[in-house]
């Protein structure tokens, strides 16, 4: 075997010439811990507390549990709606609720969220009307909510592009004297895109208050992480931008909220961006249209099922006497009511005025669009006449 520079380096590390005293490692404060932060065992029993990541207040955890349960029920309802043909497509959040709800709880209401298509549960947890969350996926328009009012960018499909927007928004807010933080969601696969690189780098150079939350759910559609990167972990990408980072067990709700709370505080305090890699798993196929059996084993899915974040948090909160049967039942009922209301409202086909197609291409339609609008108007009138 050829000796590689690293082999040599390791071998010679001790023999280093005394003439060159070892400089302090300038990357030390940037590297993530080698292991994901974890505060609960997979079975929900607590690990010993740690100074660096104190446990969040128990009321926050209880609220987290509530939103996760409602979110999961919402998610199941959305998946059911695809089967009834009420949604064009639905990418499920199931299994990732700790990340999505944790992100929302770590933020203030006036902070900004930059979601991808996968973040439906984050958006409902933010209080956005579930029908508005599903507008994109039902197919009546591209974005159902008012992003400015909800401080939430449109669900982003072109992968990683939102990483740059978040940097710009966050810098723009601080430029205008506001202490807003932006949190950008991104998947493991999308970290390979150039826009991830450019976004995190811009945020770092401009010290923009952004938290990048990588939900490493192990797959990009069918492609496993091993085809995506040779890095020890995705969190290690931070150091190349001068951005501190951390790994967290993404199915440990307590750890997720603890780590994200710190990351948000870091950003808000003016220290620039922070990168969090949450190790989690997508329990469902990529979307309802996907066939996940083509690329992963039932065993693997089952193993991750045993680390379910909702069950884990419930176990923990019950053990701490924060939840009892009654409370769990009440939250379950709330979730059922939420789903029922959604089901009901999604039961009718929305009507969308075809002429609205011309309303928002520009602030004012161009003469060309006005002409095309007239064409469509005449067609619709003729159709109506025809059917009248």
């Amino acid at each position: 075997m050829t000796t590689t520079p690293q082999a040599v380096r390791r071998a010679s590390a001790r023999k280093r010439r005394p003439a060159t005293p070892a400089a302090p490692d300038p990357s030390a404060h940037l590297l993530p811990r080698t292991e994901p932060v974890r505060l609960l065992n997979p079975d929900g029993t607590p690990l010993p507390p740690r100074d660096d990541y104190p446990e969040p207040p128990v009321e926050a955890l209880r609220e987290m549990y509530r939103r996760m349960v409602v979110g999961r029920r919402f998610d199941a309802q959305a998946t059911a709606l695809t089967k009834q043909g009420r949604l064009a497509v639905y990418p499920s959040s199931r299994g990732q609720e700790a990340c999505q709800v944790g992100a929302v709880l770590a933020l203030r209401d006036d902070d900004w969220v930059f979601p991808t298509y996968r973040e439906s549960v984050a958006l409902t947890a933010r209080g956005i009307d579930p029908v508005e969350v599903l507008t994109l996926l039902r197919g009546d328009w591209h974005c159902g909510y008012d992003p400015a009012a909800r401080r939430t960018a449109p669900q982003c499909t072109p992968l990683a592009t939102q990483c740059v927007h978040a940097a710009g928004l966050a810098y723009g807010e601080s430029y205008q004297g506001r202490d807003t933080v932006a949190l950008a969601f991104i998947g493991d696969g999308a970290t390979s895109e150039g826009d991830f690189h450019e976004g995190v780098n811009f945020a770092a150079v401009f010290k923009a208050p952004v938290v990048y939350l990588v939900q490493n759910n192990k797959y990009a559609i069918s492609v496993p992480l091993s085809r995506q990167t040779a890095a020890p972990a995705l969190a290690y990408k931070g150091v190349g931008y001068g951005v501190p980072s951390e790994q967290v067990d993404g199915n440990d709700p307590v750890a997720v909220l603890a780590v994200l709370t710190r990351a948000v505080a870091h950003a808000r305090a003016g220290h620039g961006p922070f990168l969090v890699e949450a190790h989690t798993y997508r329990m469902e196929p990529h979307t309802n249209a996907d066939d996940a059996t083509r690329y992963r084993d039932a065993d693997e899915v089952e193993a991750w099922g045993e680390r379910d974040p909702v069950v884990r948090l419930e176990t923990y909160l019950r053990a701490r006497d924060v939840l009892d049967d009654a409370a769990v039942a009440a939250i379950g009922e709330e979730a059922e009511a939420y789903a029922a209301a959604l089901r009901e409202r999604m039961n009718t086909q929305p009507t969308v005025d075809p002429l609205s197609l011309f309303d928002h291409v520009y602030a004012e339609p161009t003469p060309q669009l006005a002409e095309q609008r007239e064409l469509v108007r005449a067609e619709l009138a003729a159709e109506q006449e025809g059917s009248a």
């Binding site: 591209h142 072109p158 992968l159 390979s192 826009d195 083509r294 161009t366």
Partner: protein, 334 residues
């Protein structure tokens, strides 16, 4: 003869090309074990191994740039962009390298890459999944731009594209993937640059390509009932363009409507109209008219039928071809 879908024909073309030439590598996002989100590469990894058909990191500039390097090493990469709008991150690699390398090096380097792009709408896809992006490529010298409208052509043109010494952007109309037809493979049809008259007619010529061809054919059928006998020309290759076939048809019929699914402004249909009116000026009884997508971002699924060229819209346009030798009222007023 067997009935098969365009998806299957494309899959067969890839397999046959890989069989015929070791240098052919197929890669992109989810094309390996999954067989592609549209299953166009289904079974290729199992059959040819994961060195011949493989998944890459999720990065389109990376995929196209990697293909450039592989082509420089003598291989023949066939890459898949998962959807039309997801090829945009690769735009610089395509426009500044793929299209130009032969020219930049006076022919010393060639990059015979095929970039497969599932494109256009009609499948209820959400935003960014339905763009008709052919004009961006057709406007870029050095690229060939090809789009099949029939099952046999899908096979034939893809084989042609892989054999071609130049880079080819191979645009696959998504809405036709699962339409099936009788086909006998391996079918090798007309070479690049040859348009085909899909339906003969005498009164006017409909020029179309890709997803617009079935619309044109349906419109021609319907027009029969209104007493118009329409000819339909399927371009097959947008670049190179078959001026001869198109102009010959229009000179015969004296009238022409160009149909494309993409938004109209500065699209391929504009080029066709401009060429036809130049070449057939004295044969034309009416201006060359266009039916295209609206000049709007591709709409959400529930509104896409308003956007897409429909049989009715084509017929309305044919009706405006000044059959009574009167100028178009729309422009006389102006």
């Amino acid at each position: 003869m067997a009935t098969m879908t365009m998806a299957k024909a494309l899959n067969a073309a890839l397999a046959d090309a890989m069989l015929a030439d070791d240098r052919v590598l197929v890669f992109g996002e989810d094309v390996g074990q999954l067989g592609g989100v549209f299953r166009i590469t289904d079974g290729l990894q199992a059959r040819f191994g994961d060195k011949r058909c493989f998944d890459t990191p999720l990065a389109e500039a990376g995929i196209v740039g990697f293909a450039v390097g592989l082509a420089m090493s003598g291989l023949r990469p066939v890459v898949e962009m998962q959807f039309d709008a997801f090829a945009y991150p690769a735009f610089e690699q395509i426009a500044s390298h793929v299209a130009k390398l032969r020219n930049r090096t006076r022919g010393a380097l060639s990059v015979p890459i095929v970039i497969r792009v599932p494109y256009a709408g009609g499948i209820g896809g959400v935003e960014h999944h339905c763009d008709s992006s052919e004009a961006y490529y057709a406007h870029t010298p050095g690229l060939k731009v090809v789009t099949p409208a029939t099952v046999e052509d899908a096979y034939s043109l893809l084989r042609e594209a892989i054999d071609d010494p130049d880079p080819v952007v191979f645009m696959e109309p998504k809405k036709l993937y699962f339409a099936s037809a009788e086909a006998e493979l391996p079918a090798r049809k007309e070479p690049f640059g040859r348009a085909v008259v899909r339906r003969a007619g005498t009164d006017a010529t409909l020029v179309a390509y890709g997803p617009a061809v079935p619309v044109a054919l349906a419109a021609a059928e319907a027009a029969g009932e209104e007493g118009w006998d329409l000819e339909v020309v399927d371009l097959r290759t947008v670049v190179p363009f078959d001026d001869a076939t198109v102009a010959a048809s229009v000179r015969r019929t004296g009238r022409c409507v160009v149909i494309q699914e993409a938004q109209g402004f500065a699209g391929v249909g504009a080029e066709i109209a401009a060429r036809v009116q130049e070449r057939c000026f004295h044969a034309l009884h009416a201006p060359v008219l266009r039916v295209s997508g609206l000049d709007i971002p591709y709409p959400a699924p529930m509104l896409e039928h308003t956007h897409l060229p429909s049989v009715d819209r084509v017929l309305d346009t044919v009706a405006r071809l000044q059959w009574d030798d009167q100028p178009d009222a729309r422009w006389v007023a102006a």
